[in-house]
Subunit: 714 residues, 2 copies
């Protein structure tokens, strides 16, 4: 790719970004768009719709940037929880890393690369006609001693990243403990989920649980709720809710008569009455089914068991309860709202099969996804495109068109394809057997991350058939050499990718295109202005994206340092925009208290090791074998560092220590409200499908909030 193609892509994307910023600055001030741009403030009631018109509303203003910039970490923590803080720290972490890498890259490595003559000498007279490869390490001659500069840069950046990783892990780990100490008593702290409950003949699951815990944990056991099979109930409730929504809509519509419908035999039936009747039927059905479920003993061999202290709940969770390790398996309970109820409907064997199916599905999906990626890669080879589509020959000779096609289109298409990965991965995780939404998203996050690394990084680098790629990994000793050849060759594509995918996706995140379009389409049909839901941050989409950019930055910083300024711009954009979104748009759906960080840490270590392997390969390729040899200890050191961090911090991310639990329990001892809390604990984990619903009555008084609490997720 030539410099000019990059400049074209840069121009298009900068234009888009500016456009999005300006549009956002105007549109966010229109009251009709409040539910798109500040749903959170609206829901909290801290922002009211002002319908008064003034000129200011039409002039773009950057006030929101200042507010986002000024937001302190404490405010973020109190308003959006620790997960939001961790997310912002990923961005600042990358900013720090790439600031140092950027200084080294731009001011030291870039001039060195340009001074090389292996590919071509730089042409200052017609700058935009230089190939981007001039700026990469490929331009340095074999055996050149200047490669030791790159070698030093690799060591310095690895050391800096490791130092920062340690610092962050330590910080977030201590934040997690602080968060726990400052938290109010919450049901999930006092509760465990027990599965594989053995039931002797003639007794129920409930009796079995009661007997077991009264026998072995008499002093701490409080209560339990056995889980029942409620998938049929749940689908009935969902049907009812849909019908009820429609009914509400009809009732609130002043032009109700319009909707009366001509039936087949000519008789006019009031649609409202019709729906009302259906709803009553469903309700009756629900009542019947529910009593059936309760009486017939449709119990699953799983139960939420609550204890009278956090430490009391932690002991059975940490120990093997029964002599048969497949019975009485305990795990930490999720927050009550976070429980993924549909999961419990499947049996143990089914869950095992599903797990295997998910693994196979993930592998298949990852492999099949290569097909569009390879096609996209074909676009960067104009000559090949001409062979495939001879008709395009005329158009492709126009410089601008060819620049758009090579510089902008490939990464745009790739990005669109990648949009479908997170929902698929989330679906796969949901059938894999996790008991909470947060676990599902955490698992989906890891899946999406590896999917992106494989399908963007490796697929682009080794563009070729699937079998060719698999062959590379089946021949481990040649990996460094093959990476060393293939990775620098794709530098220009990834620079364009950062600009297209990074810049545009971040600014479109600000602009919220899809919610805006939905809101525009819905507006004529809906009168109720309160009918909106506050969205929540989908970490499994956002975290892998940033981590992929970090991977690109770390692997390319010494190969093609030109990528760094673009990455830094992306990170600055993300820093401001996501802070703004946390303030105005997203609500916390659940709180994992920073459990996403270990994924981030692992991904960074992977990036470092990958970079070091490439360095080894490239130094060998450039015939500076001493540098290649000295790169090997760096890999070992990085892996040892990772091992140390796993020992030092990871345990804190799975459970809290006895020390912390006992201290926190003692702090609560004198709290008068604890009695009340323990009373609420007995019903906290009631399956929402088992709670009574009355559509017909609530339909009369438009009791909307009741419905939203009834809606079944998943």
């Amino acid at each position: 790719m030539l410099v000019s193609a990059l400049l074209t892509s840069l121009a298009i994307n900068s234009g888009l970004c500016v456009l999005f910023f300006v549009l956002y600055s105007i549109l966010r001030k229109q009251p009709s768009n409040y539910e798109v741009y500040i749903p959170r403030l609206l829901a909290e009631g801290s922002s009211k719709r002002r319908s008064r018109f003034n000129l200011e509303r039409l002039i773009p203003s950057p006030g929101w940037v200042r507010r986002a910039w000024k937001l302190s970490e404490e405010d973020l923590l109190s308003s959006s929880g620790l997960d939001a803080v961790v997310y912002m720290r990923i961005i600042t972490f990358c900013l720090k890393v790439f600031s140092l890498a950027g200084i080294i890259g731009i001011f030291i490595i870039l001039p060195v690369n340009c001074s090389g003559t292996a590919l071509q000498t730089i042409d200052f007279t017609d700058f935009s006609n230089n190939s981007l490869d001039v700026f990469s390490i490929s331009n340095i001659e074999s055996g050149s001693q200047r490669l030791w500069i790159h070698f030093c840069a690799v060591y310095i950046v690895t050391g800096f990243v490791c130092y920062l990783l340690y610092y962050e892990y330590n910080y977030i780990s201590s934040q997690r403990t602080a968060y726990f100490y400052s938290s109010k008593p919450q049901p999930h702290q006092f509760t465990i989920l027990v599965r594989g409950i053995p039931v002797s003949a003639g007794s129920t699951v409930s009796e079995s649980v009661e007997n077991f815990f009264k026998e072995y944990y008499p002093s701490t056991y409080l209560s339990h709720i056995v889980i029942r099979r409620t998938n049929k109930l749940r689908s009935l409730i969902n049907d009812g809710t849909k019908l009820y929504r429609r009914l509400l809509h009809l009732q609130s519509d002043p032009n109700q008569e319009k909707y009366k419908r001509l039936r087949l035999f000519g008789s006019k039936v009031d649609l409202v009455d019709h729906y009302g009747k259906q709803l009553e039927d469903i309700e009756e059905n629900l009542r019947l089914k529910r009593s059936e479920v309760t009486s017939a003993g449709d119990e699953i061999r799983a139960a939420f068991v609550s204890f009278n202290s956090r430490y009391g709940a932690a002991i059975p969770f940490h120990m093997q309860l029964s002599t048969n390790p497949t019975n009485w398996i305990a795990e930490q309970a999720p927050e009550p709202d976070d429980v993924f109820w549909p999961f419990f409907s499947t049996s143990f064997i089914k869950r095992w099969i599903y797990k295997l199916v998910v693994v196979v599905a993930c592998i298949l999906l990852t492999i099949l996804f290569l097909i569009p990626v390879v096609l996209v890669q074909g676009l960067t080879n104009l000559s090949q495109l001409e062979i495939w589509f001879p008709i395009l020959k005329g158009i492709l000779t126009i410089t601008f068109v060819s620049e758009v096609i090579t510089g902008y289109l490939p990464s745009l298409i790739l990005q669109l394809f990648l949009k479908i990965a997170p929902p698929i991965m989330e679906f796969l995780s949901s059938i894999q057997g996790y008991i909470s939404h947060s676990e599902i998203e955490k698992s989906a996050c890891t899946k999406v991350l590896w999917f992106s690394i494989w399908n963007i990084f490796f697929a682009t680098v080794f563009s070729g058939s699937v079998l060719y790629q698999i062959n590379i990994f089946l021949d481990p000793k040649n990996i460094p050499g093959k990476l060393a050849v293939a990775v620098p060759a794709q530098a220009s594509f990834f620079i364009a990718y950062v600009v297209t995918s990074g810049w545009t996706s971040t600014s479109s995140e600000l602009f919220q295109i899809i919610p805006l379009l939905c809101s525009l389409i819905k507006r004529p049909f809906s009168k109720s202005t309160d009918d909106f839901q506050v969205p929540y941050m989908q970490y499994h989409r956002e975290i892998p994206r940033i981590l992929l950019f970090a991977l690109l930055g770390i692997t390319y910083f010494f190969l093609a340092p030109l990528i760094l300024p673009f990455l830094l711009v992306y990170l600055c954009l993300a820093y401001i925009i996501y802070r703004n979104q946390f303030m105005n748009v997203y609500e916390a759906k659940y709180e994992t208290a920073g459990k996403f960080w270990p994924t981030v840490h692992n991904s960074m270590i992977f990036s470092l090791v990958l970079m070091q392997i490439i360095a080894m390969g490239i130094f060998a390729l450039k015939k500076v074998s001493l540098a290649s040899t000295f790169s090997a200890p760096l890999i070992v050191l990085t892996l040892l560092f990772n091992e140390y961090c796993r020992k030092r911090f990871l345990p804190n991310f799975t459970s809290y220590s006895a020390e912390a639990l006992i201290k926190k329990d003692r702090g609560d001892q004198d709290d008068a409200t604890m009695g009340e809390f323990f009373d609420s604990l007995t019903t906290a984990y009631q399956d929402p499908a088992m709670l009574p619903v009355r559509y017909s009555e609530s339909a009369d008084n438009l009791n909307e909030p009741l419905i939203s609490s009834l809606e079944i997720r998943g």
Copy 2:
């Protein structure tokens, strides 16, 4: 190798076995050999030395075989502990597996193999001139449908082995629980070892431990013993013990005067006085050092902490105690006699470095060991030997010599080389940071096992340079094909190996050559007939050997079923001989309660998967690709089975369940002797180097037992 070479080897080894049996049957009846052949009975006092001579003593009698055969599992359990039972069950497990495999192999597969014509048709007229390859799968033509018989055999044997593995795991797991329930209160059940104790300025480790456990475990904490750095003390004590031994020897010798020695200046000094003086010096030195250690606070940040119930000790062991996971690390305490004290002298960082060093050393040792193995393999190629040593040409043409060299010598040399592996591995494990002798041996067992599999199986199969072998494993997709070519080719070597190594080593185990020789040499110098130590079973030598034979049996049963009868004979020998040895010779040094079984299970699964990979390769090589494809699911199923077993049984082998602990604790509540036991608990984990020793006094009254309790192992 020809059938005649195998017959030669068979004849030599059968002769040796018979010789050993006859000699054993006679020698064991000589009172002077009691300490070699029945030291255990002697120590227990159940057998007295009869010096009366009778003719019966000179006639070999098989009475001991009958007694060994009749020994029941309960008797074995009560006399030698669960580990001995597990060891014998490994042998019976193999016997069961190879009985079925033997029936299938000899009566179905062997005739099928012989009927093939790929290599040569079998020559019944001159049977002993047939190559052994006639009996192997190599003799079947490519594409022959008869290979489906082998395919079925692979499925049947895999199924049978998995069924038996499940049954045994289940049985031993329940035996383990039963053993726990029936055990008396033992110090290690009530104690944990805590490491990484943080110490604030101005306080000692002891205070720190006391504060922590009184704060967080006030109701269960009993006492603690802080570990001190005693390596200097230990070497002093060892010096003293040696000197004391020599002194004792002199004192008990009636010809004491003889030992008086001419000194440099002509003055005669009584040696006994001289040693006595030295001993007093050491004792004084010891007293000084000990008070120094006690007062100067030479404390290590580790302590044994005892609790008033088993369950109380289990809770801190299972939980993360401190918010910093590298502090207050708890693990189960070993039995007091089993503690490996020298270990504690090293710091955390040193231990980490040692661990790395051990890993590197193991890899280096395994690789370097290939050199003798490859040389040994050279012996099977007579022609190559002639090229190396042209002088031997004349001798090598003699049939008997060449038969001995190809059939007997290679496996004998290999076996001798392998004798040095277990002590080296034990040494490596001992510096790796395990806190008990049993852990060290368990780790050494695994090391020796993989060492044997690599250096006997793979090194023989892929005889060639080290680099060639590593290259094979770096090219994973060709492994089945390469195995399929190389494994059947070595069938005859392994048949000879089973006969030589298996048969002879087992019968020499019975004969106890080395202890017998030692005893013969020592006898003229020692008058005291009570000066002997009961040996203990070295599981890390014996278990890998049996497992290696099981690997050979499982991988070769369908390739060259001729190996199976020899294996069965080996196993029958081992069955009788080891039962005899457990009864008469070996004492239990420690009790892991069956913790060796998971290693056995893993090794069996590895053997199965290896066999299946070879089957896949060989069916592909023989152009029955459908059978090759259908072998793949078997690998997946075997691994899934292993995964299930890990979930189902493995947790029971690391710790006991809450249910078992609480039940056992309740059983003890009414026991009146518990008070006494708790008193003894406070000093159970006292470092033996810190106990007072008085050589000078004990030297006067020949208090031998005192010394043996003082001797420091390791």
